[in-house]
Amino acid sequence: MQQPSSGDITQLLRAWSSGDESAFDQLLPLVYQELHGRAQRYMAHERSGHTLQTTALINEVYLRLVDLPQRNWENRAHFLAICAQLMRRILVDFARSRNYQKRGGGVQHQPFDEALSICSESPTQIIAVDDALKSLASVDERKSRVVELRFFGGLSVEETAEVLKISAETVMRDWKMAKAWLLKEISENGLHGA
């Protein structure tokens, strides 16, 4: 496969972040390749019994695709933020496309106990979090970004703090409350919608 050069990727990301949808289509295979690589490693690990350390996929993309020594992307924080958005879009699309939703209407209509099982990791959980995150953004934009960067971007607390220019402690507090809020939102929607 012909891979775009690191310079191209920078351009593509810029283009996408300023609304060019065609750039997304070109970025998608790159991220997919990484996802499949990771899946492959999970398969290898399942047998050997090791669990994979959750290194941020974004960091892998970053290391592999961006010309690291020259660092021609002027702002790493900016890059990470855009990557997290890109990842969110791709991962949610993925989860939806694979018919992981249990019923036609999606997660909103799950009964309460099923909504609780949202705690167990599954692509369904990703869709539910994405939906609830939109509501959270309208109440508290920063908390929704913390979740976007950490959950979808896979960033560490420190990296999240760097991107949002807040303290690591604040990230932790936001993260804690956002988790409780999202879980509540998902369970309540389940109750009301059922």
Partner: protein, 986 residues
């Protein structure tokens, strides 16, 4: 929502969540000042906070990647029998894991069995597939008896596969598995492999990945080299990004612990350096394989690839001859020349090393008169017509070889999750270890004594113990919280365990803290110790005392119907958790350290099918400072049995578990023991143990002593000796090498066993043999899924002359039978009924006959019995009868005891010498397992003793009196470190 109100919710929420549960509601009333909706809003967040658990703690990308992985696994692992792929019909899956699957299949055109190996990943790029075909076909052109023939390269729904020769046997990796092979076998296999390399190299094909997992040893002892040329193809694929999957980068290689090492350990220096390769790279790797075959150990070892690479590039391996003193100096020279780092100094051609090996073989044969295995010897048994028994076509579990075929590309880039920190061979296994509270030192026990190793520098020193405190008597090790002293459990005699304190620097004499105590755990404040108390055989209670041994009080009373293990303190020293085994199941209970009733924390009924399992080792529970309780357990519903480590968070206030156990770490078939953690709880250290029973055989000299016993069965599964064949030339044994118990026989001069009884639905029990008249083979069949209840099975008879097996009788309970060597005397059936061992005569046609006698035994422990060769008497030993052998006269039906010289410990199994004039008894002394000969008057002649805690049982005499076979259990145990992570997953 208004920003002010949201801000208010946030403030109150964070303040409340800092408070303990019981103070929250009053705080909310006060803080919300009558605003009920505000209060309930915060309350709702708080309650979801508790439920959050691992919610969104794994990045979404990982969740998706795992979903992809599980989809793929389903696709590649769900080809059902009968599926037609090209002109192959799938018969069954015979191996594979995440990295490619192998099926046995039938070629419907040529009507032969083939092995179909599916390669991992999709090949969507047609160019890549074409190139793959070209390369693999060049390799498949190799036609050689010691190269596995490739028939065809194909593709099925985008997944490439290779159809190749179907082989019956095991990989060399399986065959070696940590143990040196006999020189004859090393030479035989080595010559064959060198021959295969010579032919391939002459056609310009380099293997590039010679290693034991890529060498197959068939049941006939023939080496077959697998996957010629594939390593190159995968390299090409990797470079060109056609398979962008699993591109392990160099950095990953350098930090990858554990599993990846198998794939780098055989690389040549030029391969490590990434240079252009020629045929000589294979000769280096072959040298590494020879080294491992002759010593059981890898020449270049290390915890990470970086260390292994450094060893390959810069370090000379320890001389093979030092690890295996029986090795001829010439073998050492050959291995050394193959392992030359400079390829100009190495063997230049495979033919040179083959010639050297052949010369050595000829010399060693003329030196030894002992016959090597030859096909003629192997087939003798077949011509005797006995293979007509109900035999299923032999199909070995191909196992590990298959999923490691794609070695470097698949190197798993694990994080430092589990790391092996000792690399002791089975001969020097580690029975106990403990990490110091500061995490800087590991205390562990080896043959060389009690050692303390610096985790950082690797520097190791011994703890000096006085001569009357031999290290093999140590059973358990704990650190005192101050890090200056060790707490040891000592077994000073066969029936006593006691607790001792000893300075790490050996600065003062060991101090005895308490008698009749074991499995201690010291509170983190260093003030109290909790331990099992009572006689060695139990029952034990759980008691607490000061570390000095004072003010003992009982926490949980002893009782006959339950056994306790591994009591541990909670991080705040307010609770004690411990393992309980009862007849109806296992559990982990918790009690307040002050006393009070027990509560169940984990059991398979309350914990989603996860049953704690501590029966084999002490130290199987560990309480981390963040309140996660880590324990050894198995999941009942899981297809794969075997223990893993599980974790469950415990609420400090209530002592209750707030959620179901989750997996902490997988153990891959190892048994965990000696779990300890550091004060900060960042790492958990444990011993990972594997046990392996094998049949050993030794020649007896005129004085009845055993001459150089050797291991007869050479695989990694368990083999349990049953009986010699009437001609004294073969041993019958039961083995689970094919994942269920089957009966095999093996010539004493051979390395290759032959399966003689198997069946699809039944599991063989131990205790099988020939009838005295030589007409029948008698064996036990039990249902495969026998539960913990006394199994119900049946005794079968199989006519030696051919014919189908028939049932002799049904049996329930623990039963065994023995047949004398001479015709005219009946076999004897022994069945445990409660605490009695009851004997009846047994006839192959009529089944159970007249009662012969019974004896009260200690059935909870070990016992053994045997009928004398002439069928006139029977001998019984058990742990309940110290220093004596009970003998039953089968004619008069009367018992008498042979009083044995005192001081030989507990007896666990017995055999009669072939002349009926002595017994061979295996016994247990405080620090070793032994085998002794006991005369009919009770005089003892030691036969074998080993300080390595190698368990010996089931001695069997050959009818001609020349050999003795027995079962020896070898253990392989090393210390591992697991990064504990954090309860909140960060």
């Amino acid at each position: 929502m208004e920003p002010e109100r949201w801000k208010r919710i946030e403030e109150i929420y964070h303040a409340a969540s800092q408070l303990p549960q019981h103070k929250r509601s009053s705080f909310l009333v006060q803080a919300c000042d009558g605003d009920d909706s505000l209060s309930s809003e915060v309350q709702a967040l708080l309650s979801h906070d508790e439920k959050a658990g691992n919610f969104i703690e794994s990045p979404a990308a990982d969740i998706v990647a795992r979903a992809i992985a599980s989809d793929r696994a389903k696709v590649s692992e769900s080809v059902p029998a009968g599926t037609v792929i090209s002109h192959y019909t799938i018969v069954e899956k015979i191996g594979g894991g995440g990295m490619g699957v192998v099926y046995k299949a039938e070629d419907t055109q040529l009507h032969r069995f083939v092995a179909l190996k599916f390669l991992p990943g999709d090949v969507r790029d047609p160019h890549a597939l074409a190139r793959f075909r070209r390369e693999a076909q060049a390799a498949s052109a190799l036609d050689h008896p010691h190269i596995c023939t490739v028939y065809e390269i194909g593709e099925h729904h985008g997944q490439p596969f290779i159809a190749m020769q179907f082989l019956d046997g095991n990989t060399l990796k399986h065959v070696v598995s940590g143990k040196a092979l006999a020189l004859e076998q090393c030479l035989e296999l080595g010559i064959q492999i060198a021959d295969a390399l010579e032919v391939a190299h002459s056609q310009g094909i380099i293997h590039r990945d010679i290693k034991p997992a890529n060498i197959f040893v068939t049941k006939r002892g023939q080496a077959k080299v697998l996957d010629f040329g594939l390593a190159k193809i995968t390299d090409v694929q990797k470079r060109e990004g056609a398979s962008s999957l699993a591109t392990a980068t160099d950095e990953q290689h350098l930090t990858t612990p554990g599993t990846a090492l198998g794939t780098v350990a055989y690389m040549s220096p030029e391969q490590v350096r990434g240079k252009e390769l020629d045929a000589r790279t294979d000769l280096f790797s072959f040298g590494a394989v020879l080294y491992e075959m002759t010593t059981g150990i890898l020449p270049f070892r290390g915890d990470t690839s970086a260390v292994v690479f450094d060893a390959i590039l810069n370090r000379a391996p320890s001389p093979a001859i030092r690890l295996n003193p029986d090795l001829p100096a010439e073998m050492e020279r050959i291995i050394g020349k193959a392992l030359e780092k400079d390829r100009e100094l190495r063997y230049q051609h495979a033919s040179e090393i083959r010639a050297d090996l052949q010369r050595l073989k000829r010399e060693s044969e003329s030196g030894h008169s002992q016959a090597l295995l030859t096909p003629a010897v192997q087939t003798k048994w077949k011509s005797a017509g006995i293979t007509a028994l109900g035999i299923v076509i032999g199909l070995a579990v191909l196992g590990l070889a298959w999923y490691t075929w794609h070695p470097r590309a698949s190197a798993p880039p694990t994080a430092l999750k589990q790391r092996q920190i000792t690399a002791n061979p089975a001969e020097d296994w580690i029975p106990a270890s403990a990490i110091s509270p500061d995490g800087k030192y590991l205390a562990y026990l080896t043959l060389s004594g009690l050692l303390v190793r610096s985790i950082d520098s690797g520097e190791t020193r011994s703890v000096v113990l006085p001569p009357d405190f031999p290290p093999p008597q140590i059973w358990e090790i704990r650190w005192f919280p101050d890090g200056g002293k060790l707490l040891l459990t000592r077994r000073a005699s066969v029936s006593e365990l006691s607790l001792w304190a000893v300075g790490v620097l050996g600065q003062s004499a060991p101090q005895k803290l308490r008698d009749a105590a074991a499995e201690p755990s010291i509170s983190s404040d260093g003030k109290s110790v909790v331990f099992l108390s009572g006689p060695l055989k139990g029952p034990h209670d759980i008691s607490i005392s000061s570390v000095a041994g004072e003010s003992q009080r009982q926490l949980a009373p002893a009782s006959e119907d339950q056994a306790f293990h591994s009591p541990v303190w909670s991080p705040d020293n307010q609770w004690i958790a411990y393992f309980v085994e009862k007849s109806n199941g296992t559990s982990i209970e918790i009690r307040s350290a002050q006393g009070g009733p027990a509560k169940t924390l984990v059991s398979d009924s309350v914990s989603a099918g996860v049953a704690p399992d501590c029966t084999a080792e002490s130290g199987c529970i560990c309480w981390l400072p963040d309140w996660r309780l880590v324990f050894s357990g198995s999941q009942k519903a899981a297809q794969e049995s075997g223990k893993n480590l599980w974790q469950i968070p415990v609420a400090p206030a209530s002592g209750q578990a707030s959620q179901q156990p989750t997996l902490f770490a997988q153990l891959d078939g190892f048994i965990p023991g000696s779990m300890t953690t550091t004060m900060d709880g960042r790492i958990l250290v444990l011993d990972k143990l594997r046990m392996n029973a094998d049949v050993y055989i030794g020649e007896l000299d005129r004085n009845g002593a055993i001459k150089s016993p050797r291991r007869l069965t050479l695989d990694t599964h368990n083999s349990i000796p049953e009986q010699f064949t009437p001609d004294s030339q073969s041993v019958l044994f039961v083995s689970n090498r094919n994942d269920k118990r089957e009966l095999f026989r093996q010539q004493i001069s051979s390395t290759i066993p032959e399966r003689i009884v198997s069946s699809s639905a039944e599991n063989l029990a131990f205790g099988n043999g020939f009838s005295p008249d030589g007409r029948w083979l008698l064996y036990w069949e039990f249902p495969l899924q026998a539960g913990s209840a006394p199994p119900t099975g049946r005794l079968m008879r199989q006519p030696i002359g051919g014919g189908s097996p028939e049932k002799v009788m049904d049996i329930s309970g623990d039963a065994d039978f023995f047949c004398p060597f001479v015709a005219g005397h009946p076999c004897v059936l022994g069945v445990t009924e409660g605490r009695e061992l009851v004997f009846h005569s047994l006839d192959p046609l009529r089944g159970k006959g007249e009662p012969l006698g019974k004896l009260a035994i200690d059935a909870k422990w070990f016992y053994g019995w045997a009928v004398s060769p002439d069928g006139s008497q029977l001998a019984v030993v058990d742990h309940g009868h110290v220093d004596q052998i009970a003998v039953l006269d089968l004619g008069r039906k009367t018992w008498h005891n042979v009083a044995v010289e005192k001081g030989w410990g507990l007896f666990q199994s017995v055999a009669w010498a072939a002349d009926g004039k002595s017994f061979v008894v295996t016994n247990l002394l405080p620090d070793s397992f032994n085998m002794i000969r006991v005369s009919l008057s009770g005089k003892v002649q030691p036969l074998l003793g080993n300080p390595q805690r190698q368990w010996m049982v089931r001695p069997r005499s050959s009818p001609d009196g020349k050999y003795l076979a027995y079962q020896a259990q070898t253990s392989d145990s090393n210390v591992w470190m697991i990064e504990a992570g954090r309860a909140d997953g960060k």
